[in-house]
């Protein structure tokens, strides 16, 4: 109300309100880390201004590196310090040298990986002369800290989001309704799908040492839906909330589990991160232009860095490397851009071939998620060993299994609804165009009812830890 009524047509006041609201939102979690965002904002704003005035290429490069080092320095310290220290000590111990080092009790600031990448994209784009650096510090502060996507993305590009802070924003009825619809669907994915799946995935992964291969497969499947519901649900809530304020954020998920190969999966999963790595890492490294060796090197680099971005653990690195291994064969035979269209584009059901491709890609993804979810490499290997044992042919058995089986039909309904809406930006968007008002409202109230009555045990968003 304040934003649209009191501050109507007052762009600066609207931006200031967003910045203040974003700082209050972030400070609510831990006010001490506000200084970190503020410092990052000031550094990148100042470097942007310096880059505008400086024509000397060497000096421009120095400014760019200062920004990158400051941002990656924070990220490195808060996220990776203990990981590097522990591995350094372990490496020396392996070669027979005993060295001592004290791990620090470091709190990882929520969303640091997201806003760091967002600010870096600004400086890099200014350096590349793709973007004119802003004079408006308030708008820039609001851009860096924009609360809907501050803690878990989508990682916005300055070229897309920053200009939206300069333009007068008009309230759009259609945009606001679509935003509410997306928030509703995001809440359903998070509260009903992800939080319920989390309960069973946690039971199985936390007690994996006593469980059969068949049970562990079920655990991996639950985690597969948990992480999708959790992260894409958050993205929907973020994009929907931004819509209510008159902003358009980039799409972050596009029904990834309906992908026909792993390349398509990565075009549909966490799009804002994969395109970030493509534009700021893969292409500068030479992309797929060089020889075979270069292609392989760059593919591994981008996937491993992407894995490492998720967390300071070898499991994430192996998850990234495994995806690189999945991706490499189709890239080397030039099939990585085969499936640019939608699955079953002109029909209701997929062909047998498409179905087989989707199921195969899904299976590969589920297998990779085991590394992502496992506490350590030993844990992941133990789980995989059990899956590839005869116990996979036994009946699954775990605590709360009956409750879990009761939940499976709801997952099936969810997948079916996602399938119906796969041509849209998000599944619930379809009903505006296709269905009559009574059916629409029945769906809305059913979703709302499910959120209230089938909410799982409250779980933190997985991606908050990244």
């Amino acid at each position: 109300m304040l934003y649209w009524s009191v501050f109507k047509n007052k762009l600066k006041a609207q931006n200031a309100l967003i910045a203040v609201a974003s700082y209050v939102f972030y400070g609510w979690w831990d006010w001490r880390f506000l200084s970190l965002i503020l410092f990052s904002t000031v550094v990148d704003y100042a470097i942007g201004r310096l880059l505008l005035k400086e024509n000397d290429q060497f000096k421009r490069k120095v400014f760019l590196w200062i920004s990158i080092l400051v941002n990656l320095g924070f990220l490195g310290f808060f996220k990776y310090y203990n990981f590097f220290l522990d591995n350094f000590i372990e490496a020396f111990t392996f070669f027979g040298y005993e060295i001592k080092g004290n791990s620090l009790n470091i709190i990882l600031p929520v969303g640091i990986s997201f806003y760091t990448f967002q600010t870096m994209s600004y400086t890099i784009d200014v350096y590349r002369n793709k973007l004119t650096p802003t004079k408006d510090f308030v708008a820039f502060t609001a851009f860096v800290s924009f609360f809907p996507q501050l803690v878990a993305g989508p990682i916005e590009r300055a070229t897309n989001l920053l200009p939206q802070f300069y333009k007068n924003r008009e309230f759009s009825y259609g945009q606001a309704v679509e935003g509410m619809r997306q928030i509703l669907w995001g809440l359903f994915k998070k509260v009903v799908i992800a939080d319920n799946c989390a309960e069973y995935a946690n039971i199985i992964f936390n007690g994996s040492e006593d469980l059969s291969g068949s049970t562990l497969i079920i655990g991996a499947l639950f985690f597969t839906f948990q992480i999708y519901g959790d992260f894409s649900g958050y993205s929907d809530i973020a994009i929907g909330t931004a819509r209510l304020f008159g902003f358009n954020l980039m799409k972050n998920f596009s029904f990834p589990y309906f992908s026909r190969d792993i390349a398509e999966f990565w075009r549909r999963w966490h799009i804002s991160l994969s395109t970030w790595f493509r534009d700021y890492l893969y292409i500068p490294l030479g992309g797929s232009r060089g020889g075979l060796g270069m292609k392989i090197r760059n593919t591994f680099i981008i996937f491993i860095v992407s894995g490492f971005w998720h967390g300071a653990n070898w499991t994430f690195i192996v998850w990234g490397a495994l995806n690189a291994l999945y991706f490499l064969p189709i890239m080397l035979i030039g099939n990585n851009r085969n499936n640019l269209n939608l699955v079953a584009e002109n029909s209701f059901l997929p062909s047998i071939k498409e179905l087989a491709q989707v199921l195969f890609t899904f299976a590969l993804t589920v297998f990779a998620w085991i590394f992502f979810r496992a506490d350590s490499m030993t844990h992941a290997i133990d789980i995989i060993s059990e899956i590839f044992s005869s116990s996979t042919f036994t009946i699954p058995d775990f605590t709360k299994r009956h409750k879990a089986y009761f939940f499976i039909p709801l997952i099936a309904v969810f997948v079916f609804f996602e399938w119906l809406g796969r041509r849209e930006e998000f599944a619930l968007s379809q009903i505006e165009h296709k269905w009559k008002r009574p059916v629409r409202y029945l769906v809305y109230y059913s979703v709302l009812f499910a959120i209230v009555t089938y909410a799982g045990q409250e779980q933190q968003f997985i991606y908050f830890q990244f």
Partner: protein, 337 residues
């Protein structure tokens, strides 16, 4: 914008009407105050902790208790009337328990009593591994286990939300209508609806619960135990298990805070580790922690394999033990046998 808010209001209106109805019907007796929470016509399982708190709050100053039994529903084997025999004559005992009680719950209740200047002269704390492991209110979020804001870190919204959710749960609504119509407790009704064939009797003065199962056993103990054995409630315990799991790192801090409150109030306290049907002894780390913080003479461990846990007749089912066993324990604890 007006159009949007108008549409939003129309959309929300039916939801608000449903929530309003649920509040008005107040199935779980939390939205309004009642003279009698455990009325004769009550068949919905209500939040025990909330009712204990409300009962305590409404007592006159002269009736305020100074002696408290804390613990989960297992502590209900210990009756205030039995306990009073071991307390000074002037003591007023009160059972301040909670469904699936947590250590943080016990600590918060003690802090509440201290803050409200209610004497804490005697305490009987009944613990088990489940209680010692729970050091956060976070996962205690069902209508049965959510703690009232006055004795927890929960907000008003945190507290009331599970009751609205539970009231809208189809399983509850169907169970409620089914029971209200036919007065028959069916298996699917679970914990929402109390079994009224052998109903529990609650003393609304000291909050002791007299389980209906005691009457059922008294009437025909052979049938009762045959039935429970047949249904697999009393499982085979021939394989002995030792609990070597990691202990909760917050437990020590919370136990120390509890001890500090006891020390500040010069409380005469005893801590009993419940005898459990599973015969798994309390984790050694927890036991050492209890003995270290509260001194050995105040801690009595009845878990593991012993004369009390051997006999099936001491239990209603695998989770709850019977008052005659608690009386025997109190006898040993207070007379130091």
């Amino acid at each position: 914008m007006k159009r949007f808010f108008k549409k939003l209001a129309w959309f929300i209106l039916p939801c608000m009407a449903i929530v309003g109805t649920v509040i008005y019907l107040d199935f779980f007796k939390v939205f309004f105050d009642y003279d009698e929470y455990y009325s004769e016509d009550l068949f919905v399982s209500i939040n025990r902790e909330y009712v204990c708190l409300k009962t305590l709050e409404e007592k006159d100053k002269s009736e305020k208790p100074d002696s408290f039994i804390f613990g989960s529903s297992r502590s209900q084997a210990f009756k205030c009337k039995d306990w009073k025999k071991f307390l000074p004559d002037s003591s007023i005992a009160f059972h301040f328990d909670a469904a699936n009680e947590a250590l943080i719950g016990v600590l918060s209740k003690l802090e509440y009593l201290e803050k409200n200047k209610i004497s804490i002269d005697n305490v009987l704390l009944i613990v088990d591994v489940g209680l010692l492991n729970q050091t956060s209110f976070k996962k205690r979020n069902t209508s049965l286990t959510i703690s009232p804001p006055k004795i927890s870190s929960n907000s008003e919204i945190d507290f009331y939300q599970p009751f609205i959710t539970a009231s809208l749960n189809p399983k509850f609504v169907i169970s409620y209508i089914d029971f209200k119509t036919f007065r028959i407790h069916r298996g699917y009704m679970g914990q929402y609806i109390a079994n009224t064939i052998y109903a529990n009797i609650i003393d609304s003065n000291d909050m002791d619960i007299y389980y209906g199962k005691e009457i059922e056993i008294f009437n025909d103990s052979i049938s009762y135990y045959e039935k429970t054995i047949k249904s697999g409630i009393f499982y085979d315990r021939s394989i002995k298990v030792i609990d070597t799991s990691d202990i909760n790192k917050n437990t020590e801090e919370q136990l120390k805070k509890i001890e500090k409150i006891f020390e500040n109030n010069k409380t005469n306290y005893k801590i009993v580790v419940s005898p459990m049907y599973d015969q798994i002894g309390l984790n050694k780390s927890y036991l050492n922690l209890l003995n270290g913080i509260f001194k050995n003479e105040n801690v009595y461990d009845y878990s593991g394999v012993n004369e009390f846990t051997n006999s099936l007749g001491n239990f209603y089912e695998k989770s709850h033990y019977r008052p005659h066993l608690a009386r025997e324990i109190m006898h040993q604890v207070y007379l130091d046998l």
